[in-house]
């Protein structure tokens, strides 16, 4: 870990201003991902701006009838919030399926969205990796890829996004609110938040350098049955092989997002029209254009089968 200077930001404006003074700095929230990567010299910031104590830790109703979740709300608190449990069960389910109790006590809403891939080659600095070191190559292609992407991948990178929470957020049509150094605020629909890897897999989101996430908003509750099925080898404390987030209405209509299959939560709105027709129909639309490797081809039937299980469960 490279030596760095440290400051604790008191306000969001203070945080972005601090970044403007020290380009190349990083915000640190729970630290559970950034610090992990700094220890391995994968991230090497020279300055850390601690945003963990910003007063962005509340969950409030929006005037549209949804919820505004502060960027610094801890994953545990978000999952436990009575309104979230009642109206956005999918989000609670996804959160508590991730990481461990200890990690969720630290992990924040913003940090969770921005956590980086768990591709094992990304984690090993001896290996070529375009995401870690642009232009160095991708060791995962042709290597061990059982956990990696089958959709949306490029010739440069086949990493998956590891977040469970983001999958639920995608299904719920969340929106990411930010503020930049100039004080300009914007909202980025989560559908547009993550970039395709293309030839620049090191660029992962639409955030500009120094842009601070202040909140994530959820639209008004959509009812229905909320199910998050995370499939993994061990029963807990493991990243998803794949996951299915679904909201299913009484008439069989609904929405589905997938985790563990791509560089971002994967959702194909057009495929959702097929929900009443069952898992096979939806899966064929969701998985169109898949480029599996020998190691991860199982993810395709697994998605379909998991979705079938989820739809059956929703029917009760």
């Amino acid at each position: 870990m490279k030596a760095f200077t440290y400051e604790r930001a008191a306000t969001p404006a203070g945080a972005t201003a601090a970044f403007a003074k020290a380009p190349g700095a990083r915000f640190i929230a729970g630290g559970t991902n950034l610090l992990d990567l700094m220890k391995l010299q994968i991230e090497t910031p020279a300055h850390l701006i601690d945003v963990s104590r910003l007063a962005l830790d509340t969950i409030e109703p929006t005037k549209e009838g949804g919820l505004r979740i502060g960027a610094m709300v801890r994953n545990t608190d978000l999952a436990a919030d009575a309104r979230v449990r009642r109206d956005y069960g999918l989000l609670t389910r996804a959160l508590v399926a991730g990481a461990s109790g200890q990690l969720r006590n630290k992990a924040t809403t913003a940090g969770n969205l921005l956590q980086r891939t768990r591709c094992p080659y990304f984690y090993d600095t001896n290996q070529p990796c375009n995401k870690r070191q642009p232009g160095s190559g991708c060791a995962a292609i042709g290597g061990v890829s059982r956990t990696l992407a089958v959709l949306g991948a490029s010739e440069a990178c086949i990493a998956t996004h590891p977040s469970d929470m983001a999958v639920a957020m995608r299904a719920l049509d969340a929106s990411v609110e930010t503020v930049d150094a100039a004080g300009k605020a914007r909202a980025i629909p989560i559908a547009d938040f993550y970039r395709a890897p293309g030839t620049t897999p090191h660029l992962e989101t639409m955030l500009e350098p120094g842009e601070l996430i202040t909140a994530v908003t959820l639209p008004k509750p959509m009812g229905g049955t909320h199910i998050y099925h995370k499939v993994r080898d061990r029963a807990s404390y493991a990243f998803a092989l794949i996951s299915v987030a679904a909201v299913v209405q009484k008439d069989g209509s609904g929405r589905v997002a997938l985790g563990g299959v791509a560089h971002k939560p994967w959702r194909v709105e057009a495929a959702e029209a097929d929900m009443p027709r069952g898992a096979k129909a939806v899966a064929s639309g969701l998985l169109a254009g898949a480029t599996p490797s020998h190691d991860n081809a199982y993810k395709l039937p697994l998605v379909e089968r998991t979705l079938a299980g989820v739809l059956a469960e929703a029917k009760g």
Partner: protein, 735 residues
């Protein structure tokens, strides 16, 4: 003391302390964080510096150059050690690859440099500045591809490559029912919770190592050989060990590099291996490919049994002895076993909990399940029918004790085996397909010479000193129980000091020989102390009784404290073994039962119940022994369902080299586990009449799980781990 005739009645048989489910005596220290592990020793010279190791980025080849200039200039750096400045180093007898690589590189993450700095943070940062250029050489990393080049391994520890009895080929060809199947087990990582760690300090030419190590005397010897200094100049201290499972049998890079770093920096140096470094830098259980052929009569008598195993290791390494149990477990007149060893340039393969039997039974006990099904027999009946009470390769050698059948039948009753559907895929509980599986457990018993010193003081306190280690096995407690039983004192009058090379040499912890051997050594020393007490009082030790803190003979009763007097009494002895282990085949047996649920849609596998029935000689402390078994069952569940070091066959390394990538079971994976110990004492093993149990517990577990998954789904997976991707194709069609 020499043990060369079966034990008769002795003070241990009183069973006042031995055989009781005593709480561990080290419990209060361990549960409060007060037990000091290697990296936490306080009794070290002040001013310790921190070491951080740099590992090779290639698996095989040569270091062309190592540029340490930036690292040396980094803040806080005291010294950097590489092969170029470390001086001439030897290699320990128990190491295959060198612990410090360069210029030749033998495996990925082989240590190539050590950075020593004032603080941990500085050492770690500077280590990232060491730059190495390599000339990569072509290596062999794929066991399947290397099978054809595999050769018979040279005999090690009395293990021979091939055995044959009768005419296997003819009998197999003639058998009316046959099975010929291939199984694979992957590379496994010990993944003990405490990383390998050492503090090294020199005083002149004398070295002290506070390190996490299972085998104190071996490791002193290997360190001396590596450094080229006399053994006498090394003291190795290892009082608490955060798990080993075979991974800490030998000195590893932490110990050597700490010694070299401390010499160069002229300060004590602390090193703990970073977790992401352990899988490739240290040892692992090697992968196997196994072919098993079984031939039987229609009514289920085995007529031909053949087991071949291929594994790989670095040049000069050894095989995974996966056919061992097949030489002893089942009857059958025509037999063959064969081991082949390929040269692979992956990290060093070596012992992990129940080497040989653990992966061997993973295959054999699926094969037995498959064969029973072919025969239309219950798998328990099939095993019982093919029981043998003698070594099937040398029928003149009986088993000293063998209660495999009793384990199986006891377990079947307890587990509700009768409720199992013989037809796979027939039982369902909501969305879960359910199934039950069974497997036999077998692990050889090994006795090893072990010594101890016992002191008696005027307060009547007995202090035991031996270099035995406690890796979680309960050594502290069973040694205390042994001394208490022998001397007739309560447990709280015994102090046990372990893991210091200043103490008499014990058997150490490995191969499940520790409990019986080390306590037998304490028995010998206590027998001598009893004589010393009696002699001092002019009594005859043979008819003296040691009860309630007193020695009693005729109408004389003297408290032990009084007998010891101000000067105290000391006795030292060791237990050595005659040829009873040649006359009798000493083994431990068990049966594992498992029930699983498999999600009919996703193939997710969850274990619902587990039971082990063990027959393993006298159980010295049922509480600690049960813990050994449930722990081994847990590790076996991991081997069954998730554990695999994934090999990058292009670059030659284990890719998932941390605890997020290499999954081991967590709480949620493990249901309530039940263990039954059958009543058994084995007078041929030692005066303790005990055998090992810590490795027996893992033997067969994975196969019981795999067989349960088959019973639940009808999908037979022969390549471990049994993960859901391997089941998907055979699960019921979905809506």
């Amino acid at each position: 003391m020499k043990f060369d005739t079966p034990a008769t009645t002795n003070p241990i048989d009183r069973l006042k302390v031995i055989g009781k489910p005593t709480n561990r005596i080290d419990g209060p220290l361990k549960t409060t964080g007060a037990a000091p592990y290697a990296y936490e020793q306080r009794d070290i010279p002040a001013n310790a510096a921190y070491g951080f190791i740099v590992g090779s980025a290639i698996a095989k080849g040569r270091l062309v150059s190592v540029d340490t200039a930036d690292a040396e200039a980094a803040p806080g750096v005291l010294t950097i050690v590489t092969a170029a400045n470390a001086g001439t180093l030897g290699k320990g007898d128990f190491n295959t690859a060198k612990l410090l690589g360069g210029p030749d590189i033998e495996h990925y993450h082989q240590a190539i440099a050590l950075v020593v700095a004032e603080t941990f943070e500085q050492a770690r940062a500077a280590a990232a500045l060491v730059r190495a250029d390599y000339a990569r050489a072509r290596g062999a990393f794929d066991l399947t591809a290397a099978m054809d080049s595999a050769a018979p391994p040279k005999p090690m520890f009395g293990t021979i490559a091939d055995t044959a009895v009768g005419d296997f080929d003819a009998a197999f060809a003639a058998a009316p029912v046959t099975l010929d199947a291939r199984y694979t087990t992957p590379d496994h990582s010990h993944a003990m919770m405490e990383p390998h760690a050492t503090i090294a300090a020199w005083e002149g030419d004398r070295l002290t190592l506070w390190t996490a190590n299972q085998m104190v005397a071996w490791s002193v010897g290997d360190m001396a050989k590596t450094l080229g200094i006399p053994k006498e100049n090394i003291r190795l201290v290892s009082p608490y060990i955060g798990g080993g499972f075979g991974g800490k049998l030998f000195i590893r890079a932490d110990a050597l590099m700490a010694a070299l770093g401390a010499k160069a920096a002229k300060r004590p140096v602390k090193i703990a291996l970073p977790r992401p470094f352990i899988a490739n830098n240290t040892t692992h259980r090697p992968a196997t490919i196994q072919r098993i052929r079984l031939g039987a009569t229609k009514d289920g008598k085995i007529t031909a049994i053949g087991h071949e195993s291929w594994s790989g290791d670095l040049p000069g390494g050894g095989p995974e002895t996966a056919v061992g149990q097949t030489r002893l477990l089942y009857a059958g007149p025509n037999r063959m076993t064969r081991m082949r060893l390929a040269v692979l340039d992956l990290p060093e393969g070596n012992a992990m909990r129940a080497p040989g039997e653990a992966p061997g039974l993973m295959a054999l006990e699926i094969a037995m399940d498959e064969m029973a099904e072919k025969l239309g027999m219950d798998p328990i009946d099939f095993r019982i029918l093919n029981d043998t009470q003698v070594d099937p390769e040398k029928p003149e050698r009986p088993f000293s004790q063998r209660q495999l059948n009793e384990c199986l039948t006891t377990g079947a009753g307890k587990f509700g085996w009768a409720k199992r559907s013989a037809k796979p895929g027939a039982a369902r509980d909501g969305r879960w397909l359910t199934g039950m599986g069974v497997a036999a457990a077998f692990r050889n018993n090994i006795n090893a010479t072990s010594a101890a010193r016992v002191r008696l003081d005027k307060a009547g306190v007995v202090t035991v000193e031996t270099d035995m280690t406690d890796i979680g096995t309960g050594s502290y407690t069973i040694i205390a129980q042994t001394a208490a039983e022998m001397m007739g004192v309560p447990l709280d009058k015994v102090v046990v000091k372990l893991g210091d090379s200043a103490f008499p040499v014990s058997a150490g912890s490995g191969g499940q020989w520790g409990a019986n051997s080390s306590t037998a050594g304490v028995y010998a020393a206590c027998a001598k102390l009893r004589e010393a007490v009696a002699a001092k009082l002019g009594l005859n030790a043979a008819d003296a009784e040691f009860v309630d803190g007193e020695i009693r003979s005729g109408d004389r009763r003297v408290s032990l404290g009084e007998a010891a007097g101000d000067a105290g009494l000391v006795a030292e002895d060791r237990m050595e073994y005659g040829d009873l282990a040649d006359k009798y085949q000493q083994s431990t047996f068990g049966a594992h039962f498992c029930e699983v649920g498999v999600d009919a849609a996703t193939g997710e596998i969850r274990i619902r119940r587990m039971l082990a029935v063990c027959a393993a000689g006298r159980i010295l402390n049922p509480k600690a022994a049960r813990s050994q078994v449930i722990g081994a069952m847990t590790m076996g569940a991991g081997a069954a369902l998730m554990e695999e070091l994934a090999v990058d066959k292009r670059f030659g390394f284990f890719v998932n080299h941390d605890l997020a990538g290499y999954e081991v079971p967590v709480h949620a994976d493990i249901p309530h586990q039940e263990v039954i110990f059958l009543d058994e004492t084995d007078p041929t093993t030692s005066p303790m009449k005990a055998k090992g149990v810590g490795e027996l517990g893992i033997c067969g577990v994975a196969a019981a799980v795999a067989n349960a998954v088959y019973n639940a789904t009808g999908v037979r997976v022969r390549d471990y781990p049994v993960t859901l991707d391997k089941l998907l194709g055979g699960l019921p069609a979905i809506a």
